[in-house]
């Protein structure tokens, strides 16, 4: 690992200035992904701006919703009474991610900003447009078992690894950001981006912009929810495919639904069209199948991830079944 400078400002504005003015500077929060990437030479910031002590870790009621400070720990959010009462889907997603130790380090903002786990991104001797633009996509013709079936480009077929973000995109969250140009709000669905021709950019954040909080509006999805994650072992693994499902039921009739998939695209994959299929219909496996069919429109597989064309809809159906039964 290269040597770097270290700064620990005590005010958000100082942190923002420090990163905004220096193209080689980088925020560090929990460090659970950045440190890993620095050890392997995938990321080589010359300066780290430690934001862990900025006052951004509150979890509170705000404007008919919940506000999660960007530095709230994943474990703190998952164990928070308010969150457990109002957003159980988020709790399930958080607890499906990583390990208890990592959740004690990882923050809300950091979780959103974790990089892909594509092995070609991680190995500096292999081609990867995300790590080294212009070198090609190693996964396109390579071992692409873990890769995208939606929204990819010929430059990049990586997927976003976050579980938490899959729940947040389903829950209509909004990302609060402060930057050199002031504050702005980004709908969660617009926060992460598709790779297009610039896969090196994971999100729509500008240089120096700091996530300060995530707002989740109150919604009637406090009971019939499920985050169903399929992985190669029972815990502590990234998703092959995951599905977030939140239902408002009136008897057995679906009044409203929120759906998203993880492990299928460069961003958490919201399924608005499939949600519409569900509204007003009975909560039965047949209905869920219809929604899953709509959800899968436009999906395309590569050599080693064809299974996802079947696993993704099946996982969605299972999440809907579990949510209904909850």
């Amino acid at each position: 690992m290269n040597q770097f400078q270290y700064a620990r400002p005590s005010k958000p504005q100082a942190a923002i200035r420090a990163v905004a003015k220096d193209a080689n500077a980088q925020f560090i929060a929990g460090g659970t992904n950045l440190v890993d990437l620095m050890k392997r030479g995938v990321m080589t910031p010359q300066k780290l701006v430690d934001i862990n002590r900025l006052p951004l870790n509150k979890i509170e009621r705000q404007n008919n919703g919940l506000r999660l400070g960007a530095l709230a720990l994943n474990s703190a959010v998952a164990d928070d009474k308010l969150v457990r009462e109002r957003q159980p889907l988020l709790v399930q997603a958080l607890n499906a991610g990583a390990s208890a130790q990592l959740r004690n380090m990882a923050t809300v903002g950091g979780n959103m900003l974790q990089r892909t786990r594509c092995p070609y991104f991680y190995d500096t001797t292999m081609p990867c447009n995300k790590r080294a633009p212009g070198t090609g996509c190693g996964a396109l013709e390579g071992i692409n078992r873990m890769h995208a079936i939606f929204g990819f480009s010929d430059k990049c077929i990586a997927v976003h690894p976050s579980d938490m973000s899959v729940a947040l995109v389903a829950l209509d969250a909004t990302v609060l950001v402060s930057g050199p140009q002031g504050d702005r709000r980004i709908p969660f669905a617009d926060f992460h981006r598709l790779p297009g021709d610039t896969p090196q950019k994971d999100t729509n954040l500008e240089r120096g912009e700091l996530i300060t909080a995530v707002d989740i509006p109150d919604a009637p999805f406090t009971r019939h929810v499920s985050y169903y994650k399929v992985r190669e072992r029972a815990s502590y693994a990234f998703a092959l495919v995951s599905a977030a499902a939140a239902l408002e039921l009136d008897g057995n009739t679906i009044k409203a639904a929120r759906l998203a998939l993880g492990g299928v695209a460069h961003k958490p994959w919201r399924l608005t069209a499939a949600e519409q299929v569900l509204v007003g219909k009975p909560a039965t496996e047949a209905t869920f199948r219809q929604a899953a069919e709509v959800a899968m429109q436009g999906a395309k597989a590569f050599k080693y991830n064809e299974y996802k064309l079947k696993l993704a809809p099946n996982t969605l159906v299972q999440a809907l079944k579990t949510a209904t039964a909850a």
Binding site: T125, V230, R233, S235, Y307, V317
Partner: protein, 744 residues
């Protein structure tokens, strides 16, 4: 006085438990030596070719760097030869790959330089500054694509009786003419040992001709031999210390390039050098269970008697060593089959050499054999346990010799009872638990009850305690504890008064920890050393006490640190007093296997029963219950032995459900590089494993009656799970691991 409790057979706590739970146990990278510096390896980024140039200038100039060593400037170790120089003499396993002897690249991530610096951070940084240019050659890293080039191992060509030579009894490939037959191919991928401790070594030249290694090795004697030879030193000038070894499962069975590199680096900087591999390097340069293709043909009569089996296997090796393992051994001896053919072949690829991994060979072979047994039972519409019973062998059909002992039927019964085998339905897919399909399966394992020559030293100290020393390592099975128990019972002493020291090549020579052979081999040496001590005590007592002098040896009793005399309550001497008078007493024994190995076939046996749940929509598999039963002879310590069985079962879960190292053949480079890509079982994958031991001594292996546990704990687990998955779903997965994609 209350008689001392017998230790053998109890669940005595580990003698090193306290050290392990307090963090005080010291592993290879944890020795504090004055002037210690850090070494980091630089690996090649191609799989085959030559180093055209190596630019080390930037690395040499980096802060804290003491040396950058490569083939350009490495001191020549007199005994180090480039691997594979003479193709007519392929090296067999056991030869470390010499490093920095030439510019040839034989596998991806092969060490091409080592950087030494005063801190780990600086060594790592500088290692990234070494720039190599290559003259690249086309590489081959795909087993399937290269199977047409498979060859008979050289040792089999030279010796038709070699265990890896072609074997037949009855007619060749007789299954082909059978009325009821099956033919199926089975594949296991490359699996990697991945002990939790990264391979590490601290190398210290205490003088120009005296080398001390704190090393992760399963055999201190073997490692000493290797590096004494490499450096042209008398063996006594090399000391290897491996008191604690953080797991190995086979990958420290022989020496590796990184050890050579650390020793060279220490020579160059003339300071102790510590080198710990990264998790990426654990894939590339310290061995793995080789990717293996197998095919089984089997025929049977309608009433469930096997008439013929043909079992073929093609495994992967490197271009510079011929690695072989006993993939087909179990097939030759497990079931009655009048016609039996086995063929073993190798494919040499541009990948580092494999090395035996827990249940070596047999675990691979058992996946095919025991899956095929299940397939045949299904074909016959027979219960798979009943099918195995109908083909049970009461003597070894391979060598036509009696078994030394075999209690496999007892294991079958115990396991079937404990798993609830009666719930199993003959037809797959019949049982459900909520959304989940439920199934039951079994798999049998066996491994030779090997015993090697072993020495042991024992001393009675003036305070009445006993010190035993052996070069043997304890990589986790609890060797130190078992030896303490054996000594306690033999000497009639409280185990607290016995100190067994291990893991140092300066101690009495012992075999390398592996092949489930350590209690079989070192156990009798310890026992004999203690018997010799008793003889000494008897002599001392006789010399100093009239009653003992006149006594017949068989009338002298040893208990709780005293000698007494049958029929003479007044005669009593304490060990401590006798030893004090003599000023200490020491014995050294050399224990060798007896002749029974020529008369009997000696094996440990196991059977594993699995209950699995399979999600029909997502293809997830959960092992909800595992029962492992073993005929492993005498159980010295039920707690540590039980732990071994449970751990082997967990290893089998990994093999069955998740372990799979993958190479991108375009680059000849692993894409599974760490423990997030290469999954091993976590807590949530492991059910409470239930263990049953027959615990009947085998008098032919040694006087203790032990047969060995470590391998049979894993062998047969993966097929038990695969068979249970079939029973749950009707889907037969013949290529491991059974990941969700294969079941939806």
């Amino acid at each position: 006085m209350k008689p001392l409790q017998k230790q053998i057979g109890t669940g005595m706590n580990r003698v090193d438990g306290r050290l392990k739970v307090t963090g005080a146990a010291t592993y290879a990278a944890e020795y504090e030596l004055p002037g210690l510096v850090y070494a980091v390896l630089v690996g090649s980024t191609i799989a085959k070719g030559r180093l055209a140039s190596l630019d080390t200038k930037a690395a040499e100039r980096a802060p804290g760097v003491l040396a950058v060593v490569s083939h350009l400037n490495a001191p020549k170790a007199p005994g180090a030869k480039p691997a594979g120089k003479d193709p007519s003499q392929p090296q067999t396993v056991g030869n470390p790959l010499a490093v920095f002897t030439d510019d040839k690249i034989r596998f991806n991530d092969q060490p091409i330089a080592v950087v030494v610096a005063d801190t780990l951070e600086r060594a790592r940084f500088a290692a990234g500054l070494v720039k190599a240019q290559y003259a690249q050659e086309a590489h081959q890293t795909n087993l399937e694509a290269n199977r047409p080039q498979a060859f008979l191992p050289t040792q089999a060509k030279k010796n038709p009786k070699s265990p890896v030579a072609d074997y037949q009894r009855g007619q060749v490939d007789a299954y082909k003419t059978g009325a009821l037959k099956l033919e199926a191919e089975y594949v296991i991928p490359t699996e990697v040992h991945h002990p939790m401790e990264l391979q590490a070594i601290t190398a210290h030249w205490e003088a120009p001709d005296r080398l001390t290694l704190y090393d992760k090795t399963q055999g201190t004697m073997a490692t000493r031999r290797d590096f004494a030879k490499q450096w042209g030193l008398p063996e006594e000038n090399v000391k290897v210390v491996a008191t604690f070894v953080g797991g190995a499962f086979g990958n420290a069975l022989h020496s590796w390039p990184h050890e050579s590199a650390a020793i060279i680096a220490a020579k160059v900087v003339n300071r102790p050098v510590k080198l710990m591999l990264t998790r990426e390097q654990m894939f590339t340069m310290v061995g793995y269970r080789p990717h293996t293709w197998q095919k089984i043909g089997m025929s049977a009569t309608a009433d469930g008697k096997i008439t013929a089996i043909t079992h073929e296997a093609t495994g992967q090796t490197s271009t510079y060593e011929e690695f072989t393992e006993s993939t087909l051994g179990q097939t030759r001896m497990m079931y009655q089959a009048p016609n039996l053919t086995t063929r073993y072949r190798l494919v040499a690829l541009d990948i580092g050499s494999p090395i035996w991994m827990r249940g070596p060979g047999e675990a691979t072979g058992a996946f095919a054999l025991e899956s095929a047994m299940d397939e045949m039972a299904h074909l016959l519409n027979l219960d798979p346990l009943e099918f195995r019973l109908r083909n049970y062998t009461d003597q070894d059909p391979e060598r036509n010799r009696p078994w030394s002992t075999k209690f496999l039927k007892e294991c079958y019964q115990a396991g079937a009872d404990r798993i609830g085998w009666s719930k199993r339905q003959l037809k797959p897919g019949m049982l459900r638990d909520g959304d989940w399909l439920v199934g039951y399966g079994m798999g049998v394992g066996t491994f030779g009850a090997h015993r090697g020559a072993s020495k042991a030293n024992a001393q009675l100290l003036p305070n009445g305690t006993v010190l035993l020393q052996s070069a043997v390592t304890d990589i986790g099975p609890g060797t130190g504890t078992a030896m303490t128990q054996i000594a306690a019972d033999t000497l009639g002493l409280d185990p607290a008064k016995i100190r067994f020291e291990w893991g140092n090549s300066s101690f009495a020579s012992a075999p390398t920890q592996g092949g489930s052979a350590i209690v079989n081999s070192v156990g009798p040496a310890v026992q004999e050393a203690c018997l010799a001590l008793k003889a000494k005590l008897r002599e001392l007592a006789a010399a100093g006490n009239g009653a003992f002098a006149a006594a017949r040896p068989e009338d002298v009793a040893f208990a709780d640190g005293h000698l007494t005399l049958n029929g003479n309550p007044a005669a009593r001497a304490t060990y401590a007093d006798l030893v004090k008078q003599a000023g200490g007493t020491a014995v050294a024994v050399d224990s060798k296997p007896g002749p029974d190995g020529q008369k009997y076939s000696m094996y440990s046996f196991s059977v594993h029963f699995a209950e699995v749940r399979v999600h029909p929509l997502t293809g997830e598999v959960r092992v909800s219950k595992l029962v492992s039963c073993a005929d492993a002879g005498t159980i010295i310590n039920e707690k540590t032995a039980g732990n071994q069985m449970k751990g082997g079962a967990v290893g089998g879960i990994g093999m069955a459900l998740m372990e799979h190292a993958m190479i991108d053949d375009r680059f000849g480079r692993y894409v599974t590089k760490d423990l997030a890509d290469y999954h091993v079982p976590v807590h949530a994958d492991a059910p409470a494993v239930e263990v049953f031991f027959v615990n009947q001594p085998d008098p032919h292996v040694n006087a203790l009656g032990t047969k060995g546990i470590g391998e049979i704990a894993t062998i047969g687990v993966a097929p038990a799970i695969a068979n249970a998955v079939f029973n749950a779903t009707g889907k037969r997965v013949r290529e491991l691991p059974i990941t969700p994609d294969k079941l939806i």
